[in-house]
């Protein structure tokens, strides 16, 4: 029906149809389309960021050896004869971090999942500001393109780490300027998006949907959006200051008396390199929770649905999340323990760091206890959610020795840190993203993904991702620094642990292969997956009461829902079926 109408209109009035297509699928103001746009773009960036890492892993496993097969693809200034140069390695490192955090994971958990699900879960017809929503996506898109342009700059893309510490970043090649411009776009996009989500949740909740009836996912999105809204402006300011340092000769981050390569630097001086670190981490620590909270939200939804019982300790999870949000603004300087802090300031930041572990423990424990007494369906989404718990647990626990300054002295800036935060975001957040994709795919496409391929994808990913990240703890304890172009081969104290590099690299490449079943599944199921009804998983939250996509367009619900009960009324004693939707009277 839809197709025939399209065909007819294209015969009748070609230009009109073109315009309609553009407004419907490209410059759409429908939150569902924008969510899908975010999702597809961010998945492409996720894949790209992963590719950068696979290149780095070649150099780490076989330092100085020419990369086989694809060596011809690279220029003289990056990989002459297939041998990676340190500058390019540093570019890859900086861009891997930037792309994964700002262009892949945040856009996925907030831009894609948040955009698509928040209005549906609160029973709204759309976001509060649909045009702002569209602007948010396109500003993000431009920011992403700008970031990629960096690779074609003389001297390559930004190569001062994703943290871009000055003075190194101030004296770096042009790629850094492009990086800063890109960041300004990405930050702006996040600010637009987060305002929208906050207003939507606060103002547009369906009748009866009181705060303690909100699905945990929406709670997580609300707190996340506040973090974005309050934490990003300092970084935007910092980015502009660094741009000025680079372009107009100011010295916000440049102290006096710098001697670079034997020459006294001709600058005004008087600035502070540490100022940047404070501004950067004031964002980037809350940013960690931006990466984690929505992931916990996804996991909570998947677990409640697949255990067929309410979340255990829902209220304490909500309070813990809010508390986490507040406290996350007070821990930033634990990234800077070794910048010359005295005992007092140091005691403050390690105390807040220990305090913030408590709400994380509460949420994780509640999720784990929620499994008890359930009737667990181990589908692909649930497998990823279940694996998330111990993986995120490892990520969290390894934060302890880093958060205590005395044990951090030896571990700071070693591979231990890399292992720690990758456990949080890779088998943590990214597994949650996979769980979310498997879980909501039927809602978005009207078809379910293939379970067999999903399970292959899961088990292989679980094995290989641990193969990459676990050995990092060993290297880190041995004192191998991060961001080394040769993976530590220059250092005597690293020699005994170099063999792990090859192991980690092979795990990384196998992990890439393990994504093939997912990619196949993702595209095949779109057209020929098992047909799914409106409520494929017998779920309770409002998004499942709306018609399955292809959606109703701007409007979402045939009947604006009224909410009568909490979000996870599964297996209520005395009911015939094991789920009671929120909007069921």
């Amino acid at each position: 029906m839809d197709a025939s109408v399209k065909e007819k209109s294209s015969h009748d009035d070609h230009s009109h149809h073109e315009e309609a297509f553009i407004w419907k699928y490209v410059f759409s103001i429908d939150h569902k389309v924008i969510g899908i746009q975010y999702g597809v773009t961010a998945l492409l960036f996720l894949f790209f960021g992963f590719t950068l890492m696979m290149l780095m892993r070649w150099q780490l496993a076989y330092p100085g050896e020419a990369i086989p097969v694809i060596s011809g693809l690279f220029s003289e200034t990056t990989m002459p004869d297939g041998i990676m140069l340190p500058e390019f390695y540093n570019s890859l490192g900086a861009m891997h971090g930037t792309i994964m955090v700002f262009l892949a994971v945040v856009p996925l958990v907030v831009g894609a999942f948040g955009n698509y699900l928040v209005p549906l879960q609160v029973g709204a017809i759309d976001m509060a500001f649909p045009k702002l929503n569209m602007a948010s996506y396109w500003v993000y898109f431009v920011g992403g393109i700008v970031m990629l342009v960096g690779f074609w700059m003389p001297g390559g893309a930004a190569n001062s780490g994703w943290t871009s510490y000055p003075p190194l970043s101030n004296i770096a090649t042009t790629g850094q300027t492009v990086w800063l411009l890109g960041m300004v776009f990405l930050i702006t996009s996040s600010l637009l998006g987060s305002m929208n989500i906050i207003v939507t949740i606060v103002q547009l909740r369906a009748e009866g949907l009181t705060w303690m009836k909100l699905p945990f996912f929406t709670w997580a999105q609300l707190v996340t959006s506040f973090l974005l809204l309050l934490a990003f402006p300092p970084l935007e300011a910092a980015g502009v200051l660094q741009l000025m340092d680079r372009l107009t000769g100011s010295s916000f981050f440049m102290p006096s008396g710098l001697v670079v390569s034997g020459e006294v630097l001709d600058i005004a001086g008087g600035g502070s390199p540490l100022l940047w670190q404070h501004l950067f981490w004031f964002l980037a620590h809350p940013e960690v929770y931006v990466l984690i909270l929505p992931a916990l939200g996804i996991i909570a939804e998947v677990i409640a649905n697949n255990t067929r019982k309410p979340l255990w300790g829902y209220k304490s999870m909500v309070y813990a999340t809010i508390f986490l949000g507040f406290i996350s603004f007070t821990v930033w300087a634990h990234h800077m323990f070794l910048t010359g802090m005295g005992t007092a300031i140091n005691a403050f930041f390690q105390t807040t760091t220990m305090i913030i572990s408590i709400p994380s423990v509460i949420i994780l424990t509640a999720l784990m206890i929620s499994l008890w007494g359930g009737s667990i369906r181990f589908n692909s989404a649930m497998l990823f959610a279940c694996a998330f718990l111990p993986m995120f647990g490892i990520g969290g626990l390894t934060g302890l020795p880093l958060g205590l300054t005395a044990s951090d002295i030896h571990l700071h800036d070693t591979y231990y840190v890399i292992g720690h935060f990758h456990y949080v975001v890779a088998p943590g957040t990214i597994f949650a993203i996979f769980a979310g994709i498997y879980y909501w795919y039927p809602k978005v496409t009207g078809r379910a993904m293939n379970e067999m391929l999903g399970k292959i994808h899961f088990w292989l990913s679980l094995i290989f991702i641990n193969g990459i990240f676990f050995p990092m703890f060993i290297q880190g304890l041995a004192g191998v620094s991060r961001r080394l172009y040769d993976g530590g081969a220059s250092y005597a104290h690293a020699q005994d642990y170099l063999y792990l590099n090859e192991f980690m690299s092979i795990s990384a490449w196998l992990l890439a292969l393990a994504q093939i079943p997912f990619i196949i599944n993702f595209f095949i199921s779109w057209k020929s997956g098992q047909k799914a009804g409106d409520n494929h998983w017998d779920a309770t939250t409002l998004e499942w009461s709306a018609t399955t996509s292809p959606p109703l367009g701007h409007g979402n619900f045939e009947v604006v829902p009224t909410v009568y009960r909490g979000p996870y009324e599964y297996s209520v004693p005395g009911k015939d079926k094991d789920f009671t939707p929120q909007n069921e009277a």
Binding site: P86, N159, Y165, P166, P167, L168, I171, G257, L258, S261, V264, P273, L274, T307, R308, K309, P310, W312, L338, T339, T343, N346, A347, Q350, S357, I358, V361, T365, A366, M368, I369, L371, G373, G374, I376, R377, G393, L397, L400, P401, L404, T405, A406, S407, I409, D413, T414, L477, A478, G479, S481, R482, R483, L484, Y485, H493, Y497, Y570, S571, D578
Partner: protein, 266 residues
């Protein structure tokens, strides 16, 4: 217990007077992590085994009814508080923040000035006083990497080396750390010492080597903060010497200084 777990933690040899305390904290934390992980893991495995759909076809609306988890959370909080207040904060105050006077007895003051991609070591010499330095006097090709003002009388016996940090055993070494250009991080794995070198500021740090260790005193300085294309090769050498060896070396350097005294500073 912490000793037991330390053998499995791959830490490099510790040759410092303070490192053992840091290591034992690292050990205790890892023990706590292990207990929590194994405890949670056992509960988790039991749960996913016991409550899968086949074994338990209908879910229990209420689930866990006890508040054991609250006690667990409180226990974790208490242990963290103990580690924090009992170990980490006092250790930091003692190991990092309690800096001796430069002129105190048995303290060897050494300035370390990091640059892309080398560690410049500046010894005060027998007089124990550093000569004046200035950025415009830096000359890399002619043996004045830290920009010592040779007209300053205190500078006459100052010794500089590049990438070679020689220290006497059982003396407290007081390092004053800074950088010429970008941020570096001074890392001595065997000393459990790490401190960012930040241009524009000078930070003190101290350590005492108590043994030459398995490698006869020959170890390395690593750079722990990305500082540019040569970061991976910004390796210095850390040589632990007996007092006699150190004195002999310092004497040798003084001879060389005298010989080079007429060096025209080209």
């Amino acid at each position: 217990m912490s000793e037991w777990i330390l053998q499995y933690l791959y830490l490099p040899q510790d040759l410092s007077s303070h490192g053992h305390e840091l290591d034992s904290l690292t050990g205790w934390v890892h023990l706590l992590m292990l207990i929590l992980f194994v405890g949670w893991g056992a509960f988790y495995l039991l749960t996913v085994f016991k409550f899968n759909k086949k074994r338990n076809p209908s879910a229990d609306y209420k689930g866990v009814k006890t508040h054991v988890s609250s006690y667990l959370e409180i226990t974790v909080a208490v242990i963290e508080a103990v580690l924090l207040v009992g170990f980490s904060i006092p250790l930091w105050a003692d190991v990092v923040d309690n800096i001796p006077e430069e002129t105190a007895k048995d303290v060897v003051p050494i300035r370390i000035i990091a640059e892309q991609f080398a560690w410049n070591i500046h010894y005060a010499g027998p007089d124990g006083k550093f000569g004046r330095t200035a950025p415009e006097l830096v000359d890399l090709s002619n043996g004045n990497p830290v920009g010592i003002d040779k007209n300053d009388p205190n500078a006459a016996d100052d010794v500089t080396t590049v990438n070679q940090l020689n220290v006497p055993m059982n003396k407290q070494i007081l390092v004053k750390l800074t950088s010429k250009d970008v941020i570096h991080s001074f890392f001595l794995p065997v000393m459990r010492v790490k401190q960012d070198a930040i241009p524009g500021s000078e930070f003190p740090l101290k350590f005492t080597a108590v043994s030459k260790g398995d490698n006869d005193g020959k170890y390395e300085i690593a750079c722990a903060q990305l500082c540019g294309l040569g970061h991976y090769r910004m390796r210095g050498y850390y040589n632990i010497m007996t007092q006699e060896e150190f004195d002999a070396w310092m004497g040798e350097q003084q001879e060389l200084l005298k010989a080079a005294g007429e060096d025209d500073g080209w």
